[in-house]
Symmetry: D2
């Protein structure tokens, strides 16, 4: 028995759901879960479907081929098929802050995150001990103005070597290069420590303090070439008051960052995020 | 053009989604929205589907007949079909508290609630002026131990006369009779002023104060013969502290009650609630 | 018996609390509630104190005089004294949206807001019927580019005639003139339909939809000459998803606006808001 | 310079605040923060005060003596004085779940918790590796029906040996003995995985699933002899839906438990919790 997830994006037309579900059914699949969304303004159709098949591996490749020739061609689909047993490979990029790293690794160990984590990369050596205590390979390569191409090469080689599917920036404090972003389109997840679009850029908690806001937030988004401007995956906030110093805000913020980043990562892992025109569709 | 909502409940089997969507498609329908849920423990299947048809009224009755003979029979479905243009009729029962009544009528006036409200019934005359200011018929019939059968008759006659689809108890402070509950199974929506199952029965805010809880809540549920034991539709809470007196709790609670009841009513109106084994499935 | 609220702002120094509480005590007052805050960065001290006196009216004026000569002079205080029995007078400014107006009037009627509401002013005639149904005077004076000085005069005359203490803009859709802002510094409460500083200006829900945010919010603030830039009193947010249309956002936003504005108004009425350097201190 | 926190509980009377603040002032103290609460129903007064003194250690003991003879005697106070530099000693009790342990130790390492953690105790050996990786002593002593007095002795000896101030049960799955509860009155902090008083006892997530609630919660409270009946320190909830399996609830619950327990522990560490009649006053 094999469980697959199918994600589909195409121009909206009549009959798509009927055709796809009929296709699954006639290929001996049982639909476990179906969710769909139509962006009426842009006449775009999105679907996520989980199905189980009583089949062997080669049956999947047959499915692949006939789906491509059938519904995919008919409706001009962009589509992906994921098999549950083939875990994706996630790289973690960190700098000096440890709270998001601890949080993700704790969830990984408890079985919440259905991935492999081949390595942790950092531009600082500080968090190596955490990687060690969880038995994960740690790579350190400093990043500075003078060596940014060497650093980029180092990162790209690592990602290729370990066949990485997506990258999580767990409070990684460096700009990601355009080349990496291009190679990993909608596959680099960042956590920004404000409720975007408020307070983009550096030191958002300081800006929040300065403005006297009564809520602070965190935002997880895919990295694009526009700083803090990529498609938003998840956001959350906490109430604060005049009595909170910047240190308090940083402390409350750490809890928000952990929660928001982990939710975004889980949605990404479970193929629940689709991106269209710099916005996300998040299936439930 | 006509928009319908179809809700389906049946034993879980392979092929249901494929067959239903194929049926819609071959009847010239375009699926606008589909959501489904499988209760794996009980092997029960639930679906909600919105579809538009380019058809006249009699086409709908044809659809009705052929769906009953086709998919409905094949999969042993309990199913309902609602037409968007046929508004359902909602009765409001109140006593002396006015906050939920004001809130619902405000939403009704602003177009948030797609229903008709033929009348407001109360066991007290106090809120007649609100009914008047919104131009809705108000009926007053007192309820006491000695006249409860007369009151029940009065209510049943009203409900029949106005062809009422469902009843909202907007802080109505009387027990609903078994006969009414039977006539309106899963169609009487109550708001209870605690996060059930904590603090059922009378004076929940007083009990919450006594226990020293740090959150208070409200719960909207369908009325069953078990007091405050019916299927829960919606719940929400607010944080409170030691400094809140019972009066503060009552005031915070009023906001909760309004929000929670109105969300439940909207979900009911939009056919997003299905009931199974004293629990609800709420489609999004 | 008389209950007073005292609010104090002065440079931070040792001994203030001791001196003030000793002053209250030696004037036969019993402190019911005390809260204080020190802005350490700016070395500024803030205090709010409720006290009851077994005294007649003239005792209060004695208190006033001796406090001014005593602690107030010693510590160079800006201070205010409010008597509970002297209700303040609140003006409501509205345009065409009715949800905040209904909400505030509902709370007013239920006794939640300890003020007088002498009149409702609008630049449109649409909401007169609501004012009528609550028995409150309604004034209509249109505002356009050509008559803005006449409109300002009309507003100022009304405010003076009715001896208004503060103004609530319950979705009033016009810019307030500098002259009014100057006359009512930190006394004009606005509700903006976004979590500021994100999405200032017009049509924030449209911008939120465009950006694809996962939370929307509302902000209540005092009006200053900088549009949507005044001291923030209260903020709250709701989670939203890709499936929410702009209409959904508007509907969810209405609930936020009501809750946020009413909380801000209650804090203002209870003298719990102090303003310093374009930020608020909100006592609990 | 020395910073102290003073907590006071006594019958409500006039003049307490004036006398205490005057006392601090005349002893060369500068009040940094004052918060007070009056339980009017029970005529009970509570105060928490932070003050800095330009003084040496022996000045504190002088303060101690003269406060006891002065305000404490006059108003019949129960009071405590804590010096910021004297860190309290916290013991962690765990069983097999690691999420709360990881969370607390992560916060401890980042400097959020101003305590010492001399040891972690468990009735199972499973989590020793975590204690090791954080460099904290780990003690394992199994607990069963037949050895519960030996286990109690083992625990009491450890607590005495390490001079422990308070105990945190980070998902410790055993009943605490009456003897321990008596020795550590209002000093044993538990996390219960439901919003009490709903779902006390074992398997609350299963009960929540069964009842079909739309929110689940967690509650941190002091341990008393009544199971899950002690004074509540902190509570929080998350929204859930019909689509969440028990495993989902457990996963969402883990996040709640971490947040709620850590907030309770921080409040306890900062002397912000006072207990009266099985309820807590939590100063802000």
């Amino acid at each position: 028995m094999s469980i697959i997830t199918l994600t589909i994006q195409c121009p909206d037309q009549k009959g798509i759901i009927a055709d796809v579900t009929q296709f699954i059914y006639s290929n001996k699949g049982n639909i476990l879960y179906i969710d769909q969304y139509v962006d009426r303004e842009n006449k775009a159709f999105f679907m996520r479907l989980e199905s189980e098949f009583i089949s062997k591996e080669n049956a999947i490749s047959t499915f692949h081929l006939s789906f491509e020739k059938g519904p995919a061609k008919k409706y001009n689909m962009k589509w992906s098929l994921f098999q549950k047993e083939q875990k994706r490979r996630m790289a973690l990029f960190v700098s000096k802050y440890d709270h998001c790293l601890y949080d993700l690794l704790g969830r990984f160990k408890s079985g919440e995150l259905d991935v492999e984590i081949p390595f942790i990369y950092s531009n600082h050596p500080d968090l190596k001990h955490i990687a060690d205590s969880f038995g994960i390979q740690f790579y350190h390569f400093p990043v500075s103005k003078s060596n940014k191409f060497e650093a980029e090469d180092f990162q790209l080689n690592l990602l290729k070597k370990y066949n990485i599917s997506f990258i999580v920036l767990a409070r990684y404090m460096q700009i990601i290069s355009s080349k990496l972003i291009k190679e990993y389109t909608n596959s680099i997840i960042n956590i920004h420590h404000s409720f975007l679009p408020a307070f983009p850029g550096a030191k958002p908690y300081h800006s929040a303090f300065e403005r006297g806001v009564k809520i602070i937030g965190a935002t997880s988004h895919y990295v694009t070439d526009e700083l803090d401007g990529g498609p938003i995956i998840e956001q959350d906030v906490s109430h604060v008051s005049h009595s909170h110093s910047i240190d308090h805000l940083l402390s409350i913020g750490r809890d928000l960052e952990k929660i928001v980043l982990s939710r975004a990562v889980k949605n990404h892992i479970n193929h629940k995020v689709m991106v269209y025109k710099n916005k996300t569709i998040i299936f439930s």
